[in-house]
Assembly symmetry: C2
C-alpha cells in the first residue's frame, strides 16, 4: 500500500499540487505568529494600502473603545505589529485597511458575534491556564451534534447543539445534562464557537475536575427555528433581536427541549442530574425557567444575567406584577433549595445593577447562592471563565470546590 | 408569560440593545442583495479606499482566471457592483480593497477552501433548481454530528462528520450508509460546508428522490486526526498537503471507519446498503477502497477522481506494479459488479485524462458503469452536481433514474 500512496502523490503533483478546488490563494502571509513568551505578531501584505491598523481585545480596553493600533509598513508592503507578552487567553482581532474593517486573510480561524466576523488566536500558557482550557488538546474528545427537535409549544422544528462526552458512542452509560443558554443576538452555535464550550468540557473532563456530562445548547429566540443561514429565512443579516416573538416563550417551551433530550440521549433522571445556566438574555431565561420548574434543576447559573428582581421608577403595573410573581416562584424554588445557585457578573458589566439587586435580594431572603464578581464587562472572556468554573461544580454533592 | 417577555424586552432596551457581546459593529452595509430576477448587488462602504474590485465564480471564468470586476464608488464612499441575471446556483466571492483580498464585512456567510476564506450567496430559482437544492428549506431536516472514533490502523482517535436523516432520533429505523470523501487539502468538514451535503440530502429526501440514508464524511488525511484547529496541532495554516503520512493508508484504515459506524448507528447490513464516493483525492480513495473490499460496496462514485489505470512514460516499476494490482482487483470487483459504478468529470478538469483513461478501460473490459461528462473543471460547483445526481441513484435496485 505504501507504493500506491507514493504513486498517488506523484500523480497529484504532476497534475499540480492543487487541492480540493482552491479557488483563491488566500492570504500569502501567515498571520498571526505567537512567540513562546506570548508576544504576538500580526502581518498583512498590502503594498498599495495607505494605512493599516489592528484592533482587538488583546489591547487593554480594546475593541470596545475602538483604539486600534497602527501597523508599520515594512519591506515589500508587508505591514506588521507585535504586541507585548499576552497572558494565556483566547483573543479576537480585525484589521482596518484604508478605513475598512476586515478579517485577516492570513488566518482562517474566525468567529461570528451577531453580525461581526472576527479572527481569533489563542495564547496557550500550558495546563491550568485559560488559553489551554480553550484549546484542542491531545485528550479524549466529545462529539458535537446539530440536532433538530420538535417543539409543539413553539409550533415548529428547532435546532439545538448537543455535546456528548468522550466515549458516549460506545460506553452505554447514562449522563447528567447541562442546559447552556446564549444571549440576545446569539443562537445554538454561540456557546460552541465564541464560548469554546466543547473544548472547555473536554479539558475539564480529561483533568478530572468536571463530571462527564451532556451539554445541550438551545436556540433562545422563540420566533426562530435555528441559527442564521440554517432556515428557510435564507442568508439574512443577523441582528441583536432574535426575530419576531414566538408562539410562546422560552420558559413555556422549555419542557419540549427536556422531553426530546431525555427521550433521545442516555440521561440520568432527577433534579440532581440537571443543570441550567446562561449568559445575559440566557441568564434571564435560566433564572425564569429554573424558578418556573422548581423540581427540575439542582444547579442554576446566571452569567451577566438579565435577571430582574426590583421594579424601576417607570415600571408598569404589569411589570411590577411579573416581578412579584418571580418572588413567589423563588420562594417555592428555595423551599427546597437547589444545590448550587451561581450568580456571576463583571464589575463593569452594564447588567451589574441587576446582579447587585438580585444577590442583595437573595441575601435578604436567606436564599443560598454563590456570588462571583469578576473584573471586566459583558464579554465572552468572562462567560468562558464562568462556564469553566460552573462546569466544575455541577453534578457534585459539594458544588463548591476549592 | 407575555408580560414577562415584554418586561424583559424593556429591560434589555433600557440597558442598550446590545446582544451577546457584539464587540465590533460588523459591516455597516448589508451585502449582497439579490433581485427577484437574479441580479446581485455587492456593496462596500470604503470612503478612504482608492480602488475596490469584486471577484468570484459568478464571473464567467472568474476566480480561476483572476478577472476581478472594478466596483464603482458612489455617494458617501459606498462602492457597488451589480451583476447581470445569474442562474440558480451557489456562488463565492471576495472583495479586493487597495490590493488586499478580503471577505465582505457585510456578509457573515463564509466558506473555507484550504487556506482561503470566501463569502458565498445563493441565487434560488425555486424547487428543482440548483440553488434550491443547496438552500435550507422549510422541510424536515437531518442532524449533523462531529464524532470522534478510534482508528487502530492509524493509531489515534479521529474525527468524522455524520449526517443522519430527518427523524433518525425517534423513528427506531435502520438506514443504509453513504461514505463521502473529500479531496486533497480538505477535511471532514469540506463536504458539509463547500459541498452543501446536508442541505442537498435534506432536499432530495424531502422531495422523495433520494432514499433516507446516513452520510459519513471522513478525514482523508491519514496523518491527521481532524480538521485544522480541531487537534493539538493548534491553529495552523491549512495546506494542500494533508500533513505527514499516516501509520497506514486510508485504504487500509477504512475498516476502522465502517466498524465504528455500524456499531454506533442503526445501519442496514450488506453490500446493497453501502455506498462510497469521493472527489479528486477522495475519488482515488473511493476507487481503491471499493476495489480493495469488493464485497462491501454496491454503489461507487468517482467525482473528478485521481484514479490511475494507465502507466505514464516515466512510471517506475513500483507504479506499474500498483496499476497492475488495480487491474486484478477490478477484475475481482467486477466478477460480481456493483449495482452502480459512477464516474464523473468536467471537460476542462485537469484530471480529465484520468477520467478518459479509466472509462476507456472500463469500456474495453466490459465493466458496467455510468459515465457523466459535464462542463467545467475541478470545482465544487461540479461536485455538488455530481453529489445531487449520485445521491438520487444509491440504494435503489435501478440506480439509473431518468
Amino acid at each position: 500500500m505504501k507504493i500506491i500512496l507514493a504513486s498517488f502523490i506523484i500523480l497529484l503533483s504532476i497534475f499540480t499540487v492543487q487541492g480540493q478546488e482552491s479557488l483563491s490563494a488566500g492570504g500569502s502571509t501567515a498571520s498571526p505568529s505567537i512567540d513562546p513568551d506570548g508576544k504576538v505578531t500580526f502581518q498583512l501584505e498590502a503594498p498599495d494600502a495607505a494605512r493599516v491598523l489592528v484592533t482587538g481585545d488583546f489591547i487593554p480596553d480594546g475593541i470596545d473603545n475602538r483604539q486600534p493600533v497602527p501597523m508599520v509598513r515594512g519591506e515589500e508592503g508587508i505591514w506588521s505589529h507585535t504586541t507585548g507578552p499576552l497572558e494565556s487567553e483566547l483573543y479576537y482581532y480585525n484589521f482596518i485597511v484604508d478605513g475598512v474593517r476586515i478579517t485577516d486573510p492570513g488566518n482562517v480561524y474566525q468567529m461570528r458575534d451577531v453580525a461581526s466576523v472576527m479572527n481569533y488566536f489563542i495564547v496557550d500558557g500550558g495546563p491550568g491556564s485559560k488559553g489551554h482550557y480553550y484549546s484542542a488538546n491531545n485528550i479524549p474528545r466529545g462529539s458535537v451534534s446539530k440536532v433538530w427537535y420538535d417543539s409543539p409549544a413553539l409550533g415548529f422544528n428547532r435546532r439545538m447543539s448537543v455535546y456528548t462526552p468522550p466515549g458516549y458512542e460506545s460506553d452505554g452509560r447514562s449522563y447528567p445534562v447541562f442546559y447552556l443558554l446564549h444571549g440576545a443576538g446569539g443562537d445554538e452555535e454561540a456557546w460552541l464557537s465564541l464560548g469554546r464550550a466543547s473544548y472547555i468540557l473536554d479539558n475539564l473532563i480529561a483533568e478530572g475536575s468536571a463530571v462527564p456530562m451532556i451539554v445541550v445548547m438551545t436556540n433562545g429566540n422563540p420566533g426562530r427555528q435555528a441559527a442564521p443561514g440554517e432556515t428557510a429565512e435564507g442568508l439574512y443579516r443577523p441582528g441583536a433581536r432574535g426575530g419576531a416573538p414566538g408562539r410562546s416563550t422560552m420558559e413555556e417551551s422549555f419542557p419540549d427541549v427536556i422531553r426530546f433530550v431525555e427521550r433521545t440521549y442516555r440521561t440520568l433522571p432527577g433534579k440532581e442530574n440537571r443543570a441550567i445556566a446562561g449568559l445575559s438574555m440566557g441568564g434571564g431565561h435560566s433564572y425564569r425557567i429554573s424558578m418556573s420548574y422548581p423540581d427540575l434543576f439542582d444547579y442554576v447559573g446566571l452569567f451577566s444575567a438579565a435577571s430582574q428582581i426590583s421594579p424601576r421608577e417607570d415600571s408598569t403595573p404589569e411589570q411590577i406584577e411579573a416581578i412579584e410573581s418571580y418572588k413567589s416562584k423563588l420562594a417555592v424554588q428555595f423551599s427546597d433549595p437547589p444545590r448550587l445557585y451561581y450568580i456571576a457578573c463583571g464589575d463593569t458589566d452594564f447588567l451589574y445593577p441587576a446582579f447587585d439587586q438580585l444577590t442583595s435580594y437573595f441575601d435578604e431572603m436567606g436564599y443560598p447562592h454563590v456570588k462571583v464578581e469578576s473584573d471586566g464587562g459583558h464579554t465572552w472572556r468572562n462567560w468562558r471563565i464562568y462556564l469553566t468554573d460552573f462546569a466544575r461544580r455541577v453534578f457534585k454533592s459539594d458544588p463548591n470546590p476549592a
